[in-house]
């Protein structure tokens, strides 16, 4: 279990950033993952007093504070109405309601877990990561980076898109064997595959929303998959086209509503 000597509830982002500059410090968000990591740190930096748990709607986007818990995204009416109810559907399989009352969107995005439903969905939705020092970075770039010491303040999701997520799990609340997130926007259909089991990745974009089955077969043939305890490389490769087809179909249906 994680060990901390001091626990500081940061009173400003500047204070949190300065403390986090030291390698002996760590940001604590939901603490759900962190506490299991066996870290030994001098200072735990708690972001919970910075008002970063809000979900705000602007004219052209939703801006979600990094400390917003997954359940608040799942139950936020305007957010779900704007994107075809996808947060309600895609986040519900993650462990349990109590878990999602604490695990945060910032902790999910920062961690870039290969199995993350959250990263796959946000990647499909053209999300941007707003960092305290570096400013806005596209999530597709952020996903490729290694972990740095900047602080995620918000996630920005542009309006004008609809999305759907389909996943396969060995048992209901387990991490996914494979996850596909699809979105339809003015730029066409975007497909993201996560839990390959590597980090979520955009596998196709600018597709016609009603593209045929052979397109999904072609995408799967070009995508790298791997095997682990949950499923083999061959199994993932086999189910990927079906999952993409289902996610794309669900996405078309919500886009027509």
């Amino acid at each position: 279990m994680a060990k901390y000597k001091n626990y500081v509830v940061a009173q400003s982002l500047e204070e949190a950033y300065a403390l986090n500059a030291k390698k002996s410090s760590v940001i604590v968000a939901g603490n759900m993952w962190l506490r299991m990591c066996g870290l030994n740190k001098q200072t735990a930096i708690d972001l919970s007093a910075l008002g970063l748990d809000r979900i705000e709607e602007t004219e052209d986007a939703f801006v979600i504070g990094s400390m917003a818990v997954l359940r608040s995204l799942e139950t936020h009416e305007a957010l779900n109405a704007a994107f075809g109810g996808v947060f309600r559907d895609a986040l519900a399989p993650i462990v349990g309601t109590q878990f999602r009352n604490t695990a945060t969107v910032g902790g999910s995005v920062y961690s870039r877990f290969g199995f993350s439903d959250v990263s796959a969905l946000l990647l499909a939705l053209h999300a941007q990561v707003l960092l305290y020092k570096r400013g806005a970075v596209s999530l597709s770039d952020y996903q490729k980076e290694t972990w740095d010491r900047d602080i995620i303040t918000h996630i920005r999701i542009p309006k004008g898109q609809r999305a759907a997520v389909r996943s396969v799990r060995v048992s209901e609340t387990d991490i996914p064997v494979l996850v596909c997130a699809a979105s339809v926007s003015g730029e066409g259909l975007r497909l993201v595959l996560g839990a390959r089991p590597a980090r979520a990745q955009i596998v196709a974009e600018h597709l016609a929303p009603d593209c045929g089955e052979e397109t999904f077969e072609e995408i799967a043939a070009k995508t790298a998959f791997g095997g682990n305890l949950r499923a083999s490389e061959a199994y993932r490769r086999k189910i990927a086209p079906v999952l993409m087809m289902r996610a794309a179909k669900a996405c078309r249906e919500v886009a027509q509503k």
Partner: protein, 155 residues
Amino acid sequence: MNIEFVLNGRRVSAAADADDSLYKVLRGLGMYSVKCGCETTNCGLCTVHMDGRAVLSCSVPAARCAGHEITTLEGMQEEARRLGACLAGEGAEQCGYCAPGLMMNVFALAKENPHATDAEIDAFLAGNLCRCSGYVSQRKAIKTYLGMVCGEVRA
């Protein structure tokens, strides 16, 4: 460090290390209804309410609770009796170890969605594992309890 918070309606103060969990502090304060099963956020045994929301006390840092309201089953005895009677009536428990965590999450469900359908009950309680009784009789008992909460008879 010393943490002050409201526990079951009473202001309390507790000594805690920087890396202590809320679970540990609650047990230290004699809240023995709060159980620890997995310690990896998977089983739901350690469920308590923080400012009215169900959370897993094994993973919430105790230090984060300063100034917040924490409720355990000890603070909900009347409701516990009502739900406990429903669970007993359906034979929905064997060892009973999962019951306090399950009950705390059922209370959260009753507040948020007392008219929950079977599928909604299952989804809401998916993070509460029971290794003895099976979930069918639990769901029946929970439906009876939710019916009592909203004054309806539910089959």
